[in-house]
Amino acid sequence: MLVAGTFLGIHAAYWNETVLKVVLILSLALAVAGAFVQVYLFKMVSHLQSRLGPMESGPHGSLQLMAEVLKFLQKEDTRPAKADRWVFGAAPFLVIMSTMLIYVVIPIGPRGVVANLDVGVLYALAVSSISVIAVLMAGWASANKYSLIGGLRAAGQLIAYELPLVLAVVGVVMQAGSLNLQQIVASQAHFKIFGVGGVGLFAIPQFAGLLIFVISSQAELTQTPFDMPVAESELVAGWMTEYTGFRFLIFFIGEFATAGGLAALAAILFLGGWWLPGMGAHWGQLAWAREGVGLAVMFAKVMLVGFLIFWVRFSFPRFREDQLQAFAWKFLIPLSLADILITGIAKVAVRA
């Protein structure tokens, strides 16, 4: 038996701990995805468009998410005749896998992290790029002209926006001096600008990084203004056209859980993760409550970034395919390189 570790102050045998961690990740991912869909996609969007949104299910439409999930579950799970059986079936689970793996490294408190990897940021970004393969698999396997075009467009876009996503993070990592997410949060805690302590956000010095990160994550999620692959006016639903019922639900959850994951990464890297000015002090008996408060802070910051994503999604038209690529290669990447350059100079010259 491997040494029983302590996780969140709970002493459990090795495999119990894994079960506990899996449950934590699943609930975290589903909670964030559910919150995004219910609060933003159903209610906030409707009020943005001066309408009430779903009001029938539950008081003031609160159980709409439940209704939606049940609707998908009872739908028939069809597969096109000429579809490539195994590849068609595997694509959604690949997406879900890549999303859940991001939550492994996300810290929600001083000791509340499933795996405190030293290469946390690199791991998270690497895992999030697996979804490109899943999209291509789905596009190709559904044997449908429109999903093929959608899949190819999506693959091109995800790869094009992977680069600025990573480059935007480099600035933060240089500033924090470590790839470990807990370290980044800690360094933001002690981060002083011009001698003023306690304002611990990397968003201020790395504002350009934050902008590029949010824009690129918008593109990673293929949301407007980057939703050419799933543009309804031409291709019905891009690579997800042929998916119905449970498989579509998996894709749906995958999409919004990734949104939650990227929002969490943005919150950690730029907005100080679970840190608040009072978090570092000695809590004495209440030490165990620190994780809960950390989770609440983390959740608030993720919802803030989520609000930004959905607000942009429902206010802008969409780019054309070539403009989208040109925007990434000719504007975002040079900007992020410049940002790294300036951070480097600042790091060496000013010991920021």
Binding site: L48, Q49, S50, R51, K145, T224, P225, D227, M228, A231, E232, S233, E234, F314, S315, F316, P317, R318, F319, R320, E321, D322, Q323
Partner: protein, 390 residues
């Protein structure tokens, strides 16, 4: 708003031109059928498109899915029944269809509607235009991916439709125009309500300014796309905002001395030099603003008096022919009425609809264009299927 550089337009036109050259190569492309059920076509228009990769090599719109045979039906109906029929041609601005037909019949019979009726006809004509074009402003956004403007459009258009229903009885099919005047006068309190709604429509136009016109992504998707030079527009008979976008300064309300009351209001006809999709969108937005001004000025100066001139009980239009056209929301709509003096309906009634000519340019316009731009161009031409198919 900086006007597009000339060379940008020249570049895009050149790109379209050399796409036409490689059309002869007859590469084995994918034939895509956009429609007849498709969000970008207002109704059942099918556009057969042959692609070479993402570029359109050959396009052919196929109308006829909604052909109701108006010209044949008009020949077996009398004048009152034809009026109920023709406001279903362009069902978005439906009062505007009745006016030219009734003016044609009045010209043949030598009857002049009283001034109050002419004023109210013009007010309802402009409100039909507002109802029609506000929907376009919202719909152009949704074709390009911005889902929010169309909700604002439907919200504010609802007030205009309620006003039309309050006055005429029908939201979409008013059937309110009669030979010699109107069926009834305005209900009490209608004018003040209209003033409030006109201000609300202007606020909607400002919202569209913020949401779309000022938006750089929208500009990228529309500027320099679907450029129509002036002489090609004339050759195809483009009219309305599509023609004015190519620099043709032609508006029937101002240029012809029509019996309606446009000459009593001062308003401006906007034109745009570029001829691209952005120009067509921007022009229609200014047209809505001008229409709200016309409605307000005419309602202020509304003369008192009867609403309908004396007409014989049995309408007998004397023998003769007349061509009467007005500036409908979509363009120039006209009726060529041939009457043989019999008590029934017109002997022959040729209906010239704006969308028929506006869409006939699509085969020329769509060559060498990318697939997403096909949607933009079709949306910017703004045609209604009832108009094309009659």
């Amino acid at each position: 708003m900086s006007v597009t550089e000339q060379q940008k337009i020249a570049y895009v036109s050149a790109q379209a031109a050399d796409a036409r050259i490689n059309f002869e190569l007859e590469t084995e492309g994918m034939t895509l059928s956009i429609g007849p059920q498709h969000p970008a076509t207002h109704g059942t228009l099918r556009v057969l498109v042959r692609l070479d990769g993402e570029q359109v090599v050959w396009a052919d719109p196929i109308p006829g899915y909604m052909h109701r045979g108006y010209e044949k039906l008009c020949e077996v109906r009398d004048y009152a029944q034809v009026t109920t029929l023709i406001n279903r041609i362009d069902w978005l601005g439906s009062f505007a269809n009745e006016v030219p037909f009734i003016l044609a019949a009045e010209e043949l019979m030598g009857i002049e509607a009283p001034p109050r009726a002419q004023y109210i006809r013009t007010v309802l004509f402009e409100m039909a235009r507002i109802a029609n074009l506000t929907l376009f402003l919202g719909d152009m956004g949704v074709q390009l991916g911005a889902i929010t403007p169309v909700f604002y459009a439907f919200r504010d258009r609802e007030y205009v439709l309620n006003l039309i229903e309050g006055a005429t009885g029908g939201r979409f099919h008013p059937n309110f125009d009669r030979i010699g005047g109107l069926k009834d006068d305005l209900p009490k309190g209608w004018i003040d309500e209209t003033k409030v709604v006109m201000r609300r429509i202007r606020r909607f136009c400002d919202e569209i300014d913020d949401l779309l016109v000022g938006n750089r992504i929208f500009e990228n998707r529309c500027r320099g796309i679907g450029v129509i030079p002036r002489d090609i527009a004339l050759e195809y008979g483009l009219s309305g905002a599509n023609a004015r976008a190519s620099g043709i300064d032609f508006d029937i309300r101002r240029d012809e001395d029509s019996p309606l009351a446009w000459k009593h209001a001062d308003w401006k006809v906007w034109t745009h030099p570029d001829g691209d999709s952005f120009a067509r969108f921007w022009l229609r937005q200014q047209e809505v603003r001008e229409s709200t001004k016309i409605v307000e000025q005419l309602l202020d100066g509304l003369p008192a008096g009867p609403i309908r001139a004396k007409t014989p009980a049995r309408i007998r239009v004397p023998k003769g022919e007349v061509w009467m056209h007005t500036e409908n929301p979509l363009g120039e709509m006209g009726y060529y009425v041939v009457s043989d003096g019999s008590p029934g309906g017109p002997f022959r009634c040729k209906i010239r609809t704006p969308s028929f000519s506006n869409v006939s340019i699509v085969p020329w316009l769509l060559r060498g264009v990318l697939v997403p731009d096909v949607i933009t161009i079709l949306a910017s031409l703004y045609f209604i299927l009832g108009d094309i198919d009659r």
